[in-house]
């Protein structure tokens, strides 16, 4: 407990944009064949430092096979609302779930260069207290730390629907399930909210048998992955509306609400449209009567390709789909970054008008067919995937792995971990920094990135940016 609010908490997103520039990043490393323990890499991102782009500290876990994916902070700017009652929490711990093992690590990064494991919650405890498995997204919410899960109970995670559970924000004890009325929600992926407006939005990937051993082509072609987004009465814990994006819109993944809580809209990325292989972005918004609507506002076309250049899974299509696997919104709600993991592109859309996004910048790197090299001449394996934006909106970082078994299907063979950074131009535009290139330990892949002091997909702001 602090005597003053943590200096990295900001009442508004706009004020957070003026925060000190990040000097460190935290990146998850996973061992795709489970032969080594997964880990957390502390990366120096300070261009003034001789260690720029180097991993300066690592924390490896005492177990193997966790498969790290997403992670988050124990506390964020949401603490600055009197309604949360926890104004004096420290942003100090990273909550890192193993998506495959269901084990959760709490890592103390108060001294980032001496980061260490603070607590381990064993899978049995997660199962017993929640009936859920495969924990995923972390956000700091009204009653503590909210954790979304991808699986229900049982060995294959299909005994009951997946959902969200709550952890105590001080002791990290698991308190129990979030939902009181889940409506028709039976799959899960990401979630986020508007705290003062008291609503939450959640999305769907697929159930564990649909992803753990690789993508199931039959399920995809018969539209059996998730394609709905759910709206919740946040504090009432009730599903108040479900919007079906259309069953051809397979895998509705990241939910990115506007950071300014006065704005009542947000975005959701859809991996692939099974009718035409497009990737797409939906804009969802809340109407005056409190109900929600969603509309497709961005489509990204597949690119024709020689079947000889395509993996088994895609040969029949003679095209490479963009595969929109991650999206991220800058703190001024101006630019939406869209990772096209299949074609190897990072798109930057100006979403000042959320109903009419325009492409403002683009970086080509990696890709199933194109395999564009980094400006430093190095091969960038896979495609742009987990993307994170600095709070000031000037630097965009990303890594290249999607999920161990899926990486191998779309990009056979081991292509190596990568983390790169692009700089944003004054009026938009995106250019890779030729000097920023992170060398990861052998045999690892890289996943989500968190930036020191916060970034564009962690903090929930309680006051409008005016």
């Amino acid at each position: 407990m602090n005597l003053r609010p943590d200096p990295s908490f900001y009442p508004t997103a706009r004020m957070a944009m003026e925060a000190p520039v990040e000097k460190l990043a935290f990146t998850l490393m996973l061992s795709p064949d489970f032969s080594q323990p997964d880990g957390l890499a502390v990366v120096n991102v300070d261009p003034e430092s001789p260690d720029y782009g180097k991993i300066v500290h690592t924390v490896f876990m005492p177990n193997k096979g966790d498969e790290f994916h997403h992670f988050g902070w124990n506390a964020c700017s949401s603490a600055l609302s009197p309604l949360t009652g926890h104004a004096f929490l420290e942003r100090r711990y990273l909550i890192i779930p193993g998506i495959r093992s269901s084990r959760i690590y709490v890592v103390d990064v108060k001294e980032p260069l001496q980061a260490k494991i603070h607590k381990i919650i064993e899978p049995e405890e997660v199962f017993a207290k929640t009936g859920y498995s495969r924990p995923h997204t972390i956000h700091c919410g009204p009653e503590g730390i909210y954790v979304s899960t991808l699986g229900g109970g049982g060995a294959d995670g299909t005994d009951g629907p997946p959902g969200i559970f709550i952890m105590d924000c001080e002791t990290f004890d698991i308190l129990g399930r979030y939902e009181m009325d889940r409506g028709i929600q039976d799959k899960h992926y990401d979630f986020w909210w508007n705290l003062p407006r008291d609503y939450m939005v959640s999305s769907e990937w697929g159930l564990p048998p649909q992803f753990e051993n690789g993508i199931v082509a039959e399920d995809l072609l018969s539209n059996k992955y998730g394609h709905k987004i759910h709206f919740w009465d946040l504090r009432g814990r009730r599903n108040i509306q479900t919007i079906d994006l259309g069953e051809n819109h397979q895998m509705a993944l990241e939910i990115r609400p506007a950071h300014d809580p006065a704005k009542q809209y947000g975005f959701c990325g859809v991996v692939v449209d099974t009718t035409n292989l497009q990737g797409s972005i939906f804009t969802w918004w809340r109407k005056d009567d409190g109900t929600f609507e969603a509309k497709k506002t961005i489509t990204i076309d597949p690119q024709p390709a020689d079947p000889a250049d395509l993996p088994e899974l895609l040969k029949g299509f003679s095209a490479v789909p963009p595969l929109v696997t991650d999206i991220d919104l800058s703190l001024d709600d101006k630019y939406l970054y869209v990772a096209c993991w299949g074609t190897g592109e990072m798109h930057q859309y100006d979403v000042s008008d959320p109903m009419k996004p325009t492409l403002a910048g683009k970086v080509e790197i990696g890709g199933i067919v194109r395999k564009t090299k980094h400006p430093n001449g190095r091969d960038f394996g896979y495609g742009p995937q987990m993307v994170e934006i600095s709070r000031d909106g000037k630097r965009v970082y990303w890594t290249n792995s999607l999920y161990s078994t899926w990486d191998d299907q779309f990009y056979p063979g081991d292509r190596g971990a990568a983390m790169v950074m692009a700089r944003v131009g004054e009026g938009g535009g995106l250019n890779l920094d030729p000097d920023f290139w992170v060398e990861f330990p052998k045999g690892y892949r890289s996943h989500q990135i968190r930036l020191e002091g916060g970034d564009c997909s962690t903090d929930s702001f309680c006051f409008p940016s005016v």
Binding site: S81, P82, G85, P464
Partner: protein
């Protein structure tokens, strides 16, 4: 002597109100937020009124039962000692248990009055006022201002006045902060000037309670 103590007690009613009002944890940032969210300055006083109404209700829920008991004049000392002990116990509890009650986080942000009521109850804001109120009642009686038969009615009226004055001071201080931040200081002030008063708060309950206990024991 008597008059100065009485004056001191009334100042305590006002001071505790100012203290509650200044504490962001009692809600003034929500009034700023309301005005900013609705892009309408008038939402600020509206939110303040709701916060104040909740606070007033929390004060009355504590004070009124004691004002009813005042008819039991023979037990007046015991009641004051009991009330003092209650306040000390609450302070000690908050000193030991620094956890914020989870149920408060379940209240919809639209129900500001209810939130304010429950937050004041949960943090013993009404209890802080109780010994001060009982002290005022006792002094009024000792001064012979009140006929025995009219005692209960007077004490109820006194509870309303004490709670009202306290809440007015609370809303005044909170309103000053909210307006100051909304117009001049900006939300940055919230980040800079929010101090962790949890322990100070708990300690002030203990101190008020001890003081009241000493007064009650001395007065016979």
């Amino acid at each position: 002597m008597e008059d100065t103590s009485l004056t001191a007690l009334w100042w305590a009613v006002i001071a505790s109100g100012l203290y509650h009002g200044l504490n962001p944890g009692m809600g003034w940032p929500l009034a700023v937020s309301a005005a900013l969210m609705e892009r309408r300055a008038l939402a600020l006083p509206r939110a303040l009124v709701l916060l104040a109404a909740g606070h007033l209700a929390a004060m009355l829920v504590i004070l009124l039962p004691f004002s009813m008991m005042a008819a039991l004049i023979s037990l007046e000392r015991e009641i004051r000692i009991g009330a003092a002990c209650l306040v000390i116990a609450m302070g000690l509890y908050l000193l030991i248990n620094t956890r914020h009650p989870r149920f408060l986080a379940r209240i919809s942000p639209a129900k500001l009055g209810l939130w304010s009521f429950l937050v004041a109850i949960a943090h013993g804001a009404g209890l802080m006022l109780l010994p001060i109120y009982l002290g005022i009642c006792a002094m009024e009686q000792e001064a012979g201002h009140v006929a025995a038969g009219a005692l209960m009615g007077t004490d109820v009226r006194m509870a309303l006045i004490v709670a009202g004055v306290h809440t007015f001071a609370m809303a005044f201080a909170g309103g000053l902060m909210a307006v100051g931040v909304y117009i001049w200081l900006g939300l940055r002030f919230l980040q800079k000037a929010w101090f962790n008063l949890d322990r100070v708060w708990a300690a002030s309950l203990v101190i008020v309670g001890l003081f009241a206990l000493a007064l009650a024991l001395r007065s016979f």
